[in-house]
């Protein structure tokens, strides 16, 4: 391999300034997990098919495995580690627990990020809207039933119902 210089990237992760050096081929999920030790973002496929690496990039829901790490210069990244704030769970986290909506839990961080993005965009989604929004987050354990109920329930909590 030709000796390539690593690239220096300055970015913001969960509201905090952050810098890292990465290889030009490294994707964001790899850097989050292996350079920054933010292993809550999971890797199930590295082809953008499973949604386990869902993160927010400048307010948009993306698969971190499809973003080159060098692309996040001066961007704003939110990961699962930034969702619970000041020792308090986000309603979607709380409702996933209450509904027993995880079994193995590997898809859960991605589901949390994607569901939170949905509820911020559409505070009162229908069951069908939740199902289509989460169609990119694969879960092999639950059959989705309890996840969908948890998201609908979290929406109700966030609306103050």
């Amino acid at each position: 391999m030709s000796k390539q210089r690593k690239t220096h990237v300055s970015t913001t992760v969960n509201g905090e300034p952050c810098e890292f050096l990465c290889e030009p081929t490294q994707v964001l999920s790899d850097v989050l997990r292996n350079n920054l030790n933010l292993t809550g973002t999971k890797e199930g496929c590295n082809t953008g098919d499973c949604g386990a690496c869902s993160v927010m990039l400048d307010g948009a829901l993306v698969c971190a495995c499809l973003v080159l790490a060098v692309e996040v210069q001066d961007r704003d990244i939110e990961t699962i580690e930034g969702v619970a704030k000041e020792g308090k769970l986000h309603p979607i986290q709380q409702k996933l627990l209450e509904h027993a909506a995880l079994q193995c839990g590997i898809c859960t961080p991605g589901v949390v990020i994607a569901s939170k993005a949905l509820l911020e965009k559409n505070p009162d989604p229908s069951e069908s809207e939740v199902r289509y929004w989460l169609a990119g987050n694969l879960c092999r354990c639950t059959g989705y039933d309890k996840i969908i109920r948890a998201v609908l329930d979290a929406g109700a909590v966030m609306r103050g119902e």
């Binding site: 391999m1 997990r33 199930g44 499973c50 627990l97 949390v112 069951e127 169609a135 059959g143």
Partner: protein, 750 residues
Amino acid sequence: MTINVKTDFKYVGTRPIRPDGLDKVTGRAMYGADLNVQGMIYGHIVRSPYAHAKIKSIDFSEALKLPGVLATMSADDLPDPGDIKIPGGEVDFELKVFSPIIMARGKVFFHAQAVAAVAATSASLAAEAAKLVKVEYEILPHVLDVHAAAREDAPLLHDDVFTQGVDPVPTKPSNVSAQLELKMGDIDAGFAKADLVIERTYCVPMCHQGYIEPHACVAQIDESGKVDIWCCTQGAFMVRTLTSAITGIDVGKFKVTPSEIGGGFGGKTTVYIEPVAVILAQKSGRPVKIVMSREDVFRASGPVSSSETRVKIGVTKDGKITAIDTDIVMDSGAFSSSPIFPAVMFGSACYRCDNIRSSGTEVLTNKPKVYAYRAPGAPQPMLAVECVINEIAQKLNMDPIDFRLLNAVDEGDVPLFGVPFQAIGLKTALREAKKHPNYQAVLKENQGRGVGAAFWINAGMQSSATINVSEDGRINVLTGNPDIGGSRASMALMAAEVLGVPMETIRPTVVDTDSIAYSDLTGGSRTTLATGGAVIKAAEALVEELKKRAAALWALDIKEIEWVDGKAVAANGEKVFTLAELAAKAGVTGGPLCAVASHNAHNAAPSFAVNVCDVEVDRETGKVDILRYTCVQDAGKAIHPAYVEGQMQGGAVQGIGWALNEEYLFNERGELDNAGFLDYRIPVASDLPMIDTVIVEVPNPLHPYGVRGVGEVSICPPMPAVVTAVNQAAGILVCDLPLSPPKVLAAIDA
């Protein structure tokens, strides 16, 4: 044997938040690929580009020229398996069907079989170095189809495989690795009594367990030779046993720490990468991490046998089954590993019938070696049996549930596998399914309904548990079974029940192989029954100890002490010690409070499930929509009902995926063409409705809490329920799964 089965519970049967929940919703929980350790380097596995070939040479010289490449390995670094046996719980395993999956020895038998490995200072460097490993092959003709493979003139995979189960033992090697037949009654006489006979052949494709977390591990070896493995697995002790056997390193040198596990469904009941990481760590002197790619998981970790089941069932005109005859052929991939025995034994276990014949054939082909998937061997034959049962009920103008009630097994019946049933819940489940509102829903045009019933044996086996009490009375429950779907919650609930303290005061932990006595793996639906049994035993021993301590403090006889709601009580309630008070005084009453239980569970009992599926078929596109789905299942006792429902729903959706979409597509070269989640499409949220559940509780008469085990039977009824519904809705009879849109459309247009 009968025991007192508890029926009044305080904590068991409630739905508390799982103890490991916070870590899992916040991303803190550590899975297989989440551990990075000091000095760690990365392993990468070189895989065969051919489905069948001799390995003539392996040349690492170019790879080793790359700075940062620190170790290489091949089968030469592993002991020759010969005829070495790996000690199993009840049966021994043959090392020669495990070792070549880790590293091919002399020959590759399937595309993407591991051939060599390298370790380097970064993952990208290791991948680059792997490309520089030169492997010279002599390509051999391969065979992918079971019928072609079974022919005398087929390319032979192994010259040391002789068909098992044939008398006399054959002298010529064969790709047909096993044959068996079980019979009861007189099958011909049974069919002679029948007024209606239906015979069909149902085919199920090879599929994958589809867990979202790829296999991952970190191995390191210290200067004394002690091996530490961190990995995602269904059984840390299994990893210890297999990795020791495969590497030839003494079992006592291993410590295996199970990470959180991101799904397994049977697919993580063996090893693929751990022995490679151990050898690379040994040769490099550095900790080695290996994470399988998704593509490699599909290509080279255990898929599930494809099958062809011919079934012929005879009934009288009033709906009594007189004969069931089945032949099943299973593709085991390149090594004997298919669930042909359970497939032959259990396919017709739901029905009372005097005349049953069931035979099975296992065939080896140049495909990845199959491995366990949820209720291994049962879904395939049950698809065929149940679909024919539905067809028969329709021909007789009988409700399919009424037909099953007329023929369902019950207490005292002896199934083909010979063990008489004790109290079982099949009939109760059928009645619950029939009275469910979904079963009353009126079907419209292009809609259909299918019913499936199923049986699964469930396992017991060995487990251990340790309970420690801290000085403030909090309880630590340690077990050796990875928590794959909420088992920490059920361990804590059972301990709470015995100890009479709230679950919130109990911390259940899954520990490494150095920190607890042996436990068989998490699988066979056994954890709640067997490991839970060990927890109950340990908790009961702890209660005895607590009573002894209270008796000592009060100078009373232990017989005068009662344990009530987490307290030692004596003298008609005038003397009371809470658990916390006893814990605080432990130092003066005999030392730290703890209890250990060793358990070999011989009290497993079968589970039955009934599913009802309503679908609508789009006649323009062949697409199937699931309208309503109902799962009814006998849990014996649901320790944490929400996680029991979860097992039912998850199994149902896996079965729906298998019925409608999932299949391995091999090209003519034997390469898997759909080795990714885009093209191997598991069900997504928008494919499905809510999955309705009804838990039936017919207690297991052999378990103190009535537990049966719930994880596996749930995947058995969906395929026949879905397939029958689709065929009925579209007015077709497709018996070749999956019922994907092109296939359904072709049948509609035929």
